[in-house]
Symmetry: D2
Subunit: 376 residues, 4 copies
């Protein structure tokens, strides 16, 4: 696939849908000073439209609203909102009920949408892309356009936040040791995953909740699409079909602000399974396409982490509060690799659910899209 | 086995070792108004000995210290401490380094010790007893006495707190459906499990810690001793040897005061496995020996729960804060029984780690011991 | 004032408005096993009406819903709802926007309403009654009825939860040492004070919020009405007018489930001010009318605490988690009495905001109302 | 006073005492990449001495240990530890019992010590210096040296963390409106203020503790030394003696990781008091000496905040989690200025207790010391 040979010299205009929400605020933090993206449109509900961003937003970040964003007038989430058609890419932090309708409408207007919503993750012509894993799924975009008789417009989704933290190390292990057979994962997920106001404090202080609606199904389904390849004719996805992967998930909400932890047990197809030491080496050696592009053309994928997977020596790591900020929230932390009595091996993973698990995924995906000529 | 036909009419004197600690404080709460046990000796470190209980204790319970306890003089943990030899049973909430030495010394002095410490759980002549599961293991006590040439003295231990919450539903399932083959469990454990001061607040606010020293090994080992039977000649335990049970555990500390939650996946030997509905029925129908004795002779095992296992309909239950107080902390809550893609079935359990998971276990074990004539 | 000479021998029917809410759930806990009140009507929004209570309620208490309540059909909050007119007293846990309209409508239908809502606290003919302080304000009820040309109907309100914890010790001090001149109070208030879902977990984990809407104004205003007496002709309240009391409040929300703590500095009119030791004695000696009635006729005011004010010796007490359960949540805890460099004296108070600060207040008020012949 | 006209061109060697502790870790974060300080000595207890830093430290920061620090060998806290005498300045994060002895020993060896310990704050010849308030107190250093017959050595202390957050706005108000008469402050303090392990999680989850040992006395005493000037002959401090300032403090521990909040009521000597609007303007206009030096010679005081006081418009701000990171933790946030019924005015302040409240204070103090020629 042809790749740009130069970092964009003029800024690419971007729009943010759901700009006042939790994910939208993170998009703003990531994009306000981006080297080649420039925030052109902030879109939200009609209730907010027409007013300055700072006035309609309950900003809950630990940095102040950038000055030029605070005064920017919010637009409606509509194709004809001022400036929308000028955007080279639209980042969507919408809830799925709204995304269901708006995202394909934008695509139909030949716009490019990178979405956090779950709406089109299971669509057989839409990539479900974790930027540290399967940016090769861009190769299905031409088929998506063709199917819909579009020249430019398409949708790329990123995965559910807890899926993201799981598939990065699984991808590294499959690359090194061949297909996995079974995965049993128990998550301890942060409250920010539910947005704002999200989880009531009455439900989570001095408590954990062993249930998150639809989360287990998402992890169990999305993993196979992400870790599966692309069909030979690039008209769709392989869904790990040639070597079926069985995933079972237990999901829990815990009183942590940011950072989803997961306890993972896995079984390899290959037996005997690799040792803990081999697994650790494979994880630390893992380099993804986004990183490779950035290495060969510095500044091309500036949001890619230096290390996709950070391995932690400490027997009690990773921990959400201490480790979620590594690589500016764009990596996955792994620790405690050891034998599992029931499957082969067990370990712990951590992902920053609002950065790599959400906004950062879309941004890196788009940066790779720029590199590959899918965003112009 | 012969059982008492009458509830004790005179009070049985009891001692509490480690009376100032977290488990010791719970023993006091449970025993201060007990119908037939009476607190005779409060024992703690030599630093506390000789002083009134209230003066040497950082009391951290939500009830006040009972008045007659507050002024009681604390003794040393020694055979010759005033009143110690008069005790019909000694409850031990000691740390294992101290218990290692003191508990066998008391036994050797013909005293009866019911212990929370891990020191003798793996001893092949000492019962490891969860009161809602395997009170039949009392039948090895005569062999313990004989081996040590004792008339009266013996030790009974109870299980690790997280093991306890796991084995109760497992026992109910094995009784209904035959032996289990594999168990994969991930725990979310309360801070009170680490005692006081225990877990630093700097480590656990806005955080979870995916490691608890030796906890995984305890769960993996203890389960087989508890769920295994007694050898035919009553000289030891069967350790689930005839149908080996494989257990794998991930243990996490979470910011919850009391109540260990566990996400459990299991595989039965029998295939096809029972349905979720059959499993629920079996759990709700489960009645243990402690309950049977209490039913036939009310007041004999007064600390036994009415329901050993409480099943929760709500899809987001059980939860530690809301459900740990059921049955005065003496039951196990279970919810979310459903198919597991990797093993057969998965579900969630909750146990109050400082009550059924610790002090309450010893007290019910002792009440059954009284009923069976092992405490006089 | 004439008082009953016998505890009611037949049960008095009561209704609960807002029965599905946080305060309504507490009313149910308090009244389900009440010796002479019996829950006759559960009323909530029209969305819930017609369905069994358990089906329409997110029950968030640490005890299960009592069985006879779970299946009871919820009614609308309306005069003509089945059974409503049969109630001897209606307890209201409504939000003020709804209470504004429904409470006077019920009164106009000759019903007796004991309300937690703020709607009529400032009404010059409605008592604002803290049960451990000013149950003598019942004497204005005849004037309320007369003003509205009613035979039986009236409204009694109880105070804001944080006001309640403050005025009990202040009342004890004014009784012992004469009027106070100034009060400066800073509160640390529990999340349950905001109801459910109330405070977002994103706002309060690893955080405090130095603002609670209208709370400071409530404390500053209500204190004078409660601590002031009744006009000589019993046509209204004195509002501490003869010796004006200045109150200044800072209110904060903290990540505590239940229990409002307050740091209080006070200045007496009388100078020199009493000593810390004299103050402590006065607080411990304080007995209110509700307690006196219960003492002379046991069972008449069964929800009254044995001790209205519990003084704590420990230099770091009271604390919400450890002390909120004392006296079943019906007392105020006080500690750390010491010299204030700026005013005279400073101390710390704690009240259970959902019990004495809300539902328990209404229930004790009503019990005193029964004793005094205001509820029949 | 003469001030440098050029930023140091060669690096100044610094030592850190108590390098493995909570404050020591913050010193390392602040100094690892400092433009003209260079970490030369890491000193800790003899237990840690001789081993690489990473091996003996429980690093609890959200960034990794800088590589060149991780492998650096820890020294003892002693005058003759390798490299100690070469340090231009020694930063001390020691506990006071150790600081009592080591700090004057280093001074006696002609070393310069900037200390967080409370040991010498009340010493009449030692400056108690908040860098945004009273860096003019450096003028007493020559008298300190002279008194002890030293050429170079001296000690400068910084204030208690909660005092620091209070005195910055008070200093701004006194500069604008003349002396204050009374201050009544209630603090809500973060757990990191107690170090590690510090506060037990059992004491603070779902709880607040209305007591911090000696904290109220520190605030009440330190404020007058900091806000008072220097005697005309520069032989000591004025202690606000000419217009006595009365301070009363209530201190509480709350479950917040970092950031001390305070609710403050004040009374001015001047009457009528300034309006809320005038006060806000004075706070926002406040510029301290550290900032002035940085403005005239950029890079000279690089750790000084751009804004010493950040005023927050939001009626529920400042909040610890959202606002503690402003200005890299080196400013004080203020909000909610409004009339106080008892004193004149009330408001809320927030300080990052481990940055401006501890390590950052020492570092800015030292940077000003370099500028003024007190560190060479």
């Amino acid at each position: 696939m042809s790749v740009l040979t130069q970092v964009p010299q003029t800024k690419l205009k971007v729009g943010i849908l759901g700009a006042t929400g939790t994910v939208g605020q993170r998009f703003i933090q990531l994009l306000a000073d981006h080297p080649y993206f420039e925030i052109h449109v902030l879109a939200a509900s009609s209730r907010s439209a027409g007013k300055p961003y700072a006035q309609v937003t309950k900003w809950k970040q630990q940095t102040l609203i950038p000055d030029h964003i605070a005064t920017k007038i919010v637009q409606e989430c509509a194709v004809d909102a001022p400036g929308m058609r000028e955007c080279a890419v639209i980042f969507s932090g919408l809830d799925s009920d709204v995304a269901d309708i708006i995202e394909p409408a934008l695509r139909q207007a030949e716009l490019v949408v990178f979405s956090n919503a779950k709406s089109y993750r299971r669509d057989p012509i839409v990539p479900l892309m974790v930027p540290l894993v399967n940016t090769d799924h861009f190769s299905v975009v031409p088929h998506q356009r063709k199917t819909l008789s579009l020249e430019k417009g398409y949708i790329v989704t990123n995965a559910n936040c807890s899926t993201t933290g799981l598939v990065v190390p699984l991808a590294a292990l499959e690359r090194a040791f061949g297909p996995l057979q079974t995965v049993l994962v128990t998550t301890l997920q942060a409250i920010s995953g539910a947005g704002y106001p999200g989880v009531s404090s009455m439900d989570i202080i001095d408590n954990v909740v062993p249930y998150i609606g639809s989360e287990e199904e998402k992890i169990e389904w999305e993993t196979s699409k992400i870790l599966g390849g692309v069909l030979p004719d690039q008209t769709g996805f392989e869904y790990h079909a040639s070597s079926p992967l069985t995933v079972s998930a237990h999901c829990n909400r815990v009183p942590v602000i940011d950072g989803h932890l997961a306890c993972v047990s896995i079984k390899f197809s290959r037996q005997p399974a690799p040792s803990a030491e081999e697994i650790r080496s494979a994880l630390e050696a893992y380099v993804c396409e986004a990183q490779e592009i950035e290495q060969s053309l510095p500044g091309m994928v500036p949001s890619a982490p230096k290390r996709a997977i950070v391995y932690h020596e400490g027997q009690d790591r990773p921990q959400p509060r201490l480790d979620r900020d590594l690589e500016n929230g764009a990596c996955v932390s792994v620790g405690r690799i050891r034998k599992c009595n029931v499957l082969d091996v067990k370990f712990v993973t951590l992902v920053d659910n609002v950065r790599l698990g959400a906004a950062t995924s879309s941004v890196i995906n788009a940066e790779v899209g720029v590199a590959k000529g899918f965003i112009v």
